[in-house]
């Protein structure tokens, strides 16, 4: 068995990667992917600890999260496409009509 602290560390690295991506990248699609990465970091925790304790709840939760993530991607892509049709760009730094 892998020690649980290692799992936590790995998931934290994944999570931090996701956060960093959201903060650094400018492409809306990649930001979206990074947000999904954060969800996967959480999934890793859920699955590993569910396996660790031998109960199925966490694994079922992870499946549910995957489904939700897919729905989120679908909606996100739709919005990004709508934006692209309007502004011809998916760079988030180019959209700041609303501010102040």
């Amino acid at each position: 068995m892998v020690p649980m602290n290692a799992v936590l560390l790995l998931s934290f690295l994944l999570f931090a990667l996701g956060v960093a991506g959201v903060l650094i990248r400018r492409n809306a699609l990649i930001i979206l992917m990074c947000a999904e990465l954060m969800l996967n970091a959480a999934n890793l925790n859920l699955i590993a600890f569910a396996r660790h304790s031998g109960t199925p709840a966490g694994q079922a939760f992870a499946l549910l999260v995957m489904g939700l993530a897919a729905a989120e991607v679908a909606i996100g892509l739709a919005i990004v496409v709508a934006l692209y049709r309007k502004k011809d760009t998916v760079q988030v730094d180019d959209i700041n009509l609303l501010k102040g």
């Binding site: 936590l8 809306a28 590993a48 939760f61 729905a71 989120e72 934006l83």
Partner: protein
């Protein structure tokens, strides 16, 4: 007995708890298909009435649901659930009524609009009853995903799409943080349960070694919720999303999801994580205080009434978080519920008038209210009532809901925060009164009057009347309701 039999039995036993939300989901699905096949292109407006009826029915079902817990202790119907479900349904109904003039004018009546509102109200109704982090996360996402789409609904308007994208990206970000926090709590409790009550018991026993994990988890969950209710410093999406969204959806966002998220906030923090209250109380106090200050100060500068209401709603959330911090969960829930109810009335009235002016070609800028007192005295009077009530000026109802909340906070020993709340509410009076002053003391060229439309008139009349009635004996009424609904 097999797992599946158990599942079926659970369903038949527990389903009555969910008749309301289930009706919404089924009806919205059927509206999309096959319902929409039978409605002609020009008649989409009819869906508004269908959706309103479905909402009413769902509200009635929710209020008559048995008080019980079910679905493997994932969902619970109690006073809190019913009370906040009622608020969400009201928010949905008001939104549908307010949407009519704008959607007709823009020729954007579609079945999807109403189906999305129903789905998101369904998510809210599930959210306030969720007693398990799984069901909570699921319903939170159901609610939020629908609202992302609704914000970007006017896909031919750049503002709307931009608002939708911003809200979506930040929402996805915060939902990632929330879920990671949930996973940490799950891990800290040993990976056995996601049930709130059980988690609370287990987390309180976590050794000093794991306390960092618990704290990080609770904090991340707190961040997720603070984002959903738009509390500082996780509020930045709200002014932009409020401004860009179609105005009825702005009204919707300031009422229903806020009520639902606050209900869940109460459920998770007020009653759920009581055992580890010392972990989240101080950060929450900072969040509340910062929301009051920033919300009110930032609103001073606004030229657009939509943005002003967005910032002021940040401040109102700051006040309501005082109720979450109350050690007496029942009293806190009641105070927040009353506040939210009165807030709903004032907000719906103000938005109805705003939408009406928008429809006339005047915009949402505060300057467009110039001379409203002369042009349309009745409307201006109603607007004044809403604004003064929002400012919390007695004897209007908004004062009493504030009073009850602040009184509770003082009793709970949050004196410094309450004083801050009082001070900032004095600032709030300034910008609300500024709008009143513009309406009455500034002249504007005469413009022609357009009829307001029966639904918007209804909303304005009812909410204004309720505020005025509430001023005199609303409190007996509201107390009575609070007792019955919140138990």
């Amino acid at each position: 007995m097999s797992f599946a039999q158990g599942l079926l039995e659970a369903l038949t036993k527990d389903l009555p708890l969910l008749y309301g939300p289930a009706l919404l989901a089924v009806a919205a699905t059927l509206m999309l298909w096959p319902g929409d096949r039978f409605v002609g292109r020009g008649n989409k407006k009819a869906w508004a009435f269908v959706a309103a009826l479905v909402l009413l029915a769902a509200g009635a079902l929710a209020l008559t649901a048995p008080t019980d817990e079910g679905f493997n202790r994932m969902f619970r119907v109690d006073g809190l659930t019913k009370g906040f479900q009622a608020l969400c349904v009201m928010g949905g109904l008001i939104t549908i009524a307010l949407s009519q003039p704008q959607l007709n004018a823009l020729k954007e009546q579609t079945v999807e609009y109403y189906a999305l509102i129903l789905f998101s109200v369904c998510g809210m109704m599930l959210l306030v009853g969720a007693t398990d982090l799984v069901s909570m996360y699921f319903s939170l996402e159901l609610m939020a995903l629908c609202i992302y789409v609704l914000v970007a609904y006017l896909r031919h308007q750049e503002r709307s799409v931009e608002a939708g994208l911003k809200y979506f990206l930040l929402g996805a970000f915060s939902s990632g943080i929330l879920l990671y926090g949930i996973s940490l709590l799950f891990a800290a409790a040993g990976g056995v349960t996601t049930n709130l009550a059980e988690l609370n018991g287990r987390l309180a026993l976590v050794s000093a070694n794991g306390s960092l994990l618990v704290y990080a988890g609770v904090l991340m969950v707190l961040v997720g919720f603070a984002f959903k209710v738009a509390a500082v410093p996780f509020h930045m999406w709200s002014p932009d999303a409020y401004e860009g969204a179609p105005t009825p959806i702005t009204a919707f966002m300031s009422m229903a999801p806020k009520a639902a998220a606050l209900g869940a906030f109460l459920r998770v923090f007020g009653t759920g994580f009581q055992g580890i209250a010392s972990d989240w109380m101080l950060p929450l106090a900072y969040i509340a205080g910062a929301s009051m200050v920033l919300g009110n100060v930032a609103a001073l500068r606004q030229q657009s009434l939509k943005r002003l209401l967005a910032y002021s709603s940040i401040a109102h959330v700051g006040y309501m978080l005082l109720g979450v911090m109350s050690g007496d969960a029942q009293a806190g829930a009641q105070a927040i519920w009353l506040y939210m109810l009165t807030y709903l009335l004032m907000q719906s009235g103000a938005f109805a008038i705003l939408i009406y002016l928008q429809g006339k070609g005047e915009g949402e800028r505060i300057d467009d209210f110039r001379g409203l007192g002369r042009r349309q005295p009745v409307l201006a009077f109603a607007m004044m009532v809403f604004l003064l009530s929002l400012a919390g000026i007695p004897p209007l109802v908004g004062f009493f809901s504030k009073f009850i909340l602040f009184k509770l906070a003082i009793e709970q020993g949050h004196v410094a925060l309450t004083v801050l709340a009082l001070l900032t509410s004095a600032v709030a009076a300034y910008y609300y009164l500024n709008v009143v002053a513009v309406m009455y003391f500034k002249e504007a060229p005469e413009t022609e009057r357009a009829p307001m439309g029966s639904l918007a008139t209804l909303v304005v009349t009812v909410s204004c009347a309720l505020i005025l009635v509430g001023t005199f004996f609303g409190f007996r009424l509201m107390d009575w309701m609070g007792r019955i609904v919140l138990g």
